[in-house]
Each structure stands twice: as C-alpha cells, then as structure tokens.
C-alpha cells in the first residue's frame, strides 16, 4: 500500500491548537508572567523570580485560608457522598415516582450559584429568615453574620442542599444500571441487605462514585460565589476560603504578582489532588 505523505493533517489539528491556546495556554502563561514580576502600574515590570511564591507559602494568611479550604472540602465530601448514596438507595427503581424524584432532585442544581447564596442569606437571617428565626426560637443563639460557627454551619448546609443532588443523581444512575439478575442471585443466596449493598451495589457504583467524589472535590475546593454572597468571607475571615482570599488580593488590593503566584499554586494543588485521587480510585481496575 502506498502511503501518501502531506501536510494536510495540520488543517484538522490547527483549530484545536488555536482553541486550546486561546482558552488555556495564553491566559495561563499571562498568569505565569505576572507571578514572577513586580509592577507599580504604567506597564512597568521588575523581575521578581520566585519571590512571590516564597512570600506566599510563608504567609500566615494564605496558610489559614488553605486550612479553612481543606477542612471545608473534607466536611463537604464526608456529608454529601454518604448522604447522596443513601438517598439514591431509597429512590424507587421503576414506576411513576421515578420522574417525580428525579425532578425534585434536579431542582437545586438548576438554581444559579449567586441566587443560592442570596436565598440562603435571607433564609438564615436571625430576624427575618425562616431558618434563622426557627433556630433562635429553639433557644439556640444563632447569628451567622457574627458567629464563625454559625457562618460555617450555614455555608455547609447550603452546599449540602445545593450539591447533594448531584451525588444522588450519579449514584442513582449507577444503581439502576445494575441488572435485576444480580439482585436475584443475591436473593437466592439469601444475602442480607447490607451484603447486597457491600458486595453488589457499592462495587457497581464505584465508577460513578469516583466521578461524583472528583466533581464534588474540585467544586468545593474552588467554591467562591455562594459563600461570597452568603457571608462575604466573614465574620472576620472565618469563611474566607482560598478563592475568596485570591479575589481579595487580586481585585481588592490589586497585587497582581502575589495574586498570580497564588493562582498558580491553587491551580497546581487542585490538579495534583485530582490526579492523585483519580489514580488511587482507578488503580484496581487497571491491574
């Protein structure tokens, strides 16, 4: 067979290269560019090397924000994944109620982030909000604009309300894809409900759960809009997560160099954590 060699393939590859360059590489390199320089405006730049990175990693403010971010993400995953799976397990597998459940579950996902933040802000206000009034009526002193603990509680509750549905839908998709034959086999074996969950449902849901955990990790690690609208990062810095801190540095103080360095570290951490996580979760399948 004659192999014809020509340069025509470039026509097919070029659009992708241009697209990737404009939506990823060029913006990223601009950030890299800022992160190693200092500017006082007027487009005058001074070489800074890794100075910003050193300063940032030693800064208590950054470490605190990172700490808060990690705790927040850990709590979110610890609540939403088991809760999502539990809800998915209670949903009907067939019948008229399936679509009702699915629509109910999908509703929170359809609400824009900032609207969720505004909703919960009003919802949780101690004087007029339903949630705020209710908690105070129980005799618990609750004011999320002044108490860090209350602010955390509200933020987590909001995120659980907004995003558990995603885990539910993914887990449900995994569950209904299990053929009836597996349940019949378990029934004939006389397996108890826990054994059915442990040895049939959980292994069969593993792949969708990997995706669910990954999505919820990335999303909660980069959370910005909802806490920004809900608490504005307060009271004090109590709910100032990484991205809120980043915006304060970049736009509030207009420190482009440190903000760029922070962006890069943030990006690399997210990428690294996702990669490690994905590798660990899929290791068994590849073996």
């Amino acid at each position: 067979m004659n192999k014809t060699e020509n340069q025509r393939a470039w026509f097919f590859v070029a659009p992708v290269l241009v697209l990737v360059a404009f939506n990823a590489l060029i913006p990223l390199m601009t950030v890299v560019n800022y992160s190693v320089q200092e500017t006082f405006g007027n487009n005058v730049f001074f070489w800074q090397g890794v100075g910003w990175f050193e300063q940032l990693l030693h800064s208590e403010r950054f470490q605190a924000a990172l700490g808060r971010q990690i705790v927040f993400t850990a709590i979110i995953l610890a609540i939403e994944i088991p809760l999502g799976v539990a809800i998915a397990l209670t949903m009907p597998r067939k019948g008229p109620w399936v679509s009702v459940c699915l629509v109910l579950m999908a509703l929170p996902l359809l609400i824009p982030w900032n609207v969720v933040g505004a909703m919960w802000n009003i919802f949780a206000l101690p004087e007029i909000g339903l949630l705020g009034r209710a908690i105070n009526a129980l005799g618990i002193d609750y004011n999320m604009t002044q108490q860090p603990l209350a602010a955390w509680f509200t933020t987590i509750l909001m995120d659980v309300w907004h995003w558990t549905s995603l885990v539910v839908l993914l887990a449900y998709a995994g569950l209904i894809s299990i053929p009836d034959a597996y349940y019949q086999a378990a029934e004939i074996d006389g397996a108890r409900p826990w054994a059915v969950f442990r040895y049939i449902q959980l292994p069969k849901m593993k792949q969708v759960l990997t995706i669910a955990i990954l999505l919820r990790f990335i999303d909660s690690f980069m959370i910005y809009t909802e806490p920004f609208v809900l608490t504005g990062g307060g009271p004090g810095n109590a709910t100032t997560f990484l991205s809120i801190d980043l915006v304060k540095v970049a736009l509030g103080q207009f420190d482009l160099g440190p903000a760029a360095a922070m962006s890069l570290i943030y990006f690399i951490m997210t990428l690294l954590a996702s990669w490690v996580f994905y590798t660990v979760m899929t290791k068994n399948d590849a073996r």
């Binding site: 597996y182 086999a185 004939i188 074996d189 006389g190 040895y199 292994p203």
Partner: protein, 358 residues
C-alpha cells in the same frame, strides 16, 4: 424427587405471562424449556425458583407444597444469561459465597470450593476477580456457584447465549457431565432447537405462555402436536405451505403434486398445511419418492458444514438445508427435492394430522 407445577399461572396486571400449566420434572437428564424470546421461559424459571409467586396454582417439590416458600429457603440455584458474579470478590470467594451464607464450616468450604473449581477447570483462576476472566470463565464461575451449593434444583436460563461460538460448544458438551449423578433436577432454558437436541433429556416447548408439548426430546422433535410447536422446535424455520388433498394426492399448486403417504393417506380430502423441515428439502434427488420443486435461489448461507438456501417458490419462500458446501447460483433456478415421506400435515386448526385421528 420431582418438581411439579399444578395449574400454575402468572398474570401481571391484565397480561397473562403464563397460562395454567401442569408439568412434572424429574432428576433424570436435562429438562429443557424451549421457546422464542418472550415465550415465558424466564417467567417460568422465576416461578420455579420462588423469585416470583404464581397468581394461581401450586408448586410441589419433593412431595411438599412450596408455593409460598421464598427462593432462599427452597435450596435452588440459578445461572443467568448474563455472567452474574460478585464483582469485588475473588473467584474463590464467589464460589464460597453461597456456603458462607449457609454458615458451613471453614475446612468444609475449602474442600467443596476446591472440588467444584477443579470440576469447572477454574483452579488456576481462584485468586482473580471476575472482571479479569474471559466470558467463558466468568460463566464457569457462575456455574460453580450454582453447583457448589448442591441444590436439589438447578435452573439455567440461557446460560450460553452470551458466549461466543467456540466457548458455547465447549461448555455445552461439559454441562451434562457436570450434573451427572448429582440427583439434581436441572432445568435448562434456551431459544435454540439445536441446543435442545444436543442436550437430550426432556423438552418442553413454550409458545406464547403455554407449554405446547412435553416429552423426551427426540420424540418431541419428531412429532410436534401443532404447527406453532413445530415452528418453535425447528431451526432453520420449518417450511409451511397450504396444500390441497384430493383423493390419493396432495397438491401444492397446479404443477407440484405428490402421493398422499403416511398419516395424511387416510385423512379426509380438504385443505391442509404441509410442514417440511429444511433438511428434508435436498438440492439433489436422493430417493425415488422425492418431489422436485423449481425455485429461484434468493440467499445462501454456510453454517459450519451445512449449506442453507432460501428459495422463492411462487409467492412463498422455502428453506433447504443440506450437508456439505453446495454451489448455488443466486438468482438462478434450481430444482430442490422434498422427501414426501417426511412431510408433516396440519389441519385447519393447526393440529398435527396423525394416523390415529384419521
């Protein structure tokens, strides 16, 4: 030991999946449920396992009424068409799982799993997970799980349907040996007549929720009670055509007629349907009594060492099956020969014309 279905019927809503059925299955040889997709094979199997309750009727097992007894208390095993194993357990643990649920002691489990694995040639794979096995090995694992329990009733629901040709042949040859001398009632559902013939035993043909025939496989094959059953138990499909019997002759059309021999000889004149199994339609004359049919060859297929030709005869399509590779020219006329002594005749109601009835 027997499994008896007494007037067992299953309705779901207004649909009847199984009409009142009487059936007695014994331990000797395979009991084959033969029927097309949706004929009710799987429903019948679910009723036998206890996964589903009959709407009416009773199921008796070993002299006891087990109609309301749940599947796990009935001492049954089920192997599906899909390879159903616990995905994150090793093959060893999979085979051991029914024994563990039954709270059997450790050394005993080890011995029985070892024996069963040896029988199914799974010993080298015991440490692997099902997803690391080939389809055939996965199905062997599922079979091992069914066998290790030593159930009194083993149900195989199209166990070979998802395997490729070679593996299917291999496992099909092994199956009878696996259940030999176990004193187990084995029920085997399949949609393939050839599988029923190869496995022998007894065959029940299912058609639209009814058992139309039950008996020793070879006898059932030779004497289908009606046309629907003959269609179920014939692959390639049986040729069926309207004929008119007049005097001592049967006429297919103005040109093709043959002497009425066999059961049809004494039947009254009138319209009948002739059924000819494709392997009694030969591409060459083999006996004096054979009648020639001139047909235009439409499609030819080779399956194994068999040649199958579909040909057009008037407005009908006939199928001829013969040994060896035949050289048919597509679109050309060819003379096929029907062995008229092997023809089955069905009356207007679809029932087989037998010598006794005439």
């Amino acid at each position: 030991m027997t499994l008896e279905l007494k007037n067992v019927a299953k309705r779901v809503g207004t649909d009847t999946h199984i009409f009142a059925t009487n059936l007695t299955l014994a331990t000797k040889g395979f009991n084959i449920l033969l029927g097309a997709t949706n004929a009710g094979k799987t429903t019948l199997i679910k009723l036998m396992t206890g996964l589903e309750r009959p709407t009416s009727g009773e199921i008796w097992f070993d002299g006891k009424n087990v109609t309301g007894v749940s599947a796990q208390r009935r001492n049954v095993s089920l192997v599906h068409q899909f390879f159903v194993n616990y995905p994150n357990m090793s093959v060893y643990e999979n085979i051991a799982s029914p024994l563990r649920v039954a709270r059997i002691r450790g050394p005993e489990i080890e011995r029985r799993v070892g024996e069963t694995a040896e029988l199914l040639r799974l010993t080298p794979m015991l440490r692997r997970r099902p997803s690391e096995l080939s389809g055939g090995q996965q199905q062997r694992t599922a079979l091992a799980r069914a066998i290790v329990k030593d159930s009194a009733l083993v149900l195989l629901d199209e166990p070979l349907a998802n395997l490729d040709y070679k593996l299917r042949e291999e496992l099909r040859d092994e199956l009878p040996r696996l259940f030999e001398d176990r004193g187990t009632i084995v029920v085997y559902a399949t949609s393939e007549p050839s599988e029923a013939l190869l496995l022998g035993g007894h065959t029940a043909t299912l058609h639209e929720g009814r058992i139309t025939q039950f008996g020793a496989t070879a006898a059932a094959y030779r004497a289908p009670p009606d046309l629907a059953t003959a269609r179920v138990f014939s692959d390639p499909p049986i040729n069926a055509a309207a004929v008119v019997k007049q005097g001592g002759e049967v006429a297919l059309n103005a040109d093709v007629r043959w002497p009425a021999v066999g059961a049809i000889a004494n039947a009254p004149d009138g319209e009948y349907t002739v059924g000819v199994r494709p392997h009694f339609v030969a591409p060459a004359q083999q006996s004096e009594s054979a009648v020639g049919l001139d047909g235009r060859v439409l499609v030819t297929e080779l399956s194994g060492s068999e040649s199958v030709a579909h040909f057009e005869l008037g407005d009908q399509t006939w199928v001829a099956q013969s040994h060896g590779v035949q050289a048919y020219e597509i679109g050309e006329m060819h003379r096929f020969f029907v062995d008229v002594s092997r023809c089955l005749y069905f009356g207007a109601d679809g029932a087989l014309v037998t010598a006794a009835a005439a």
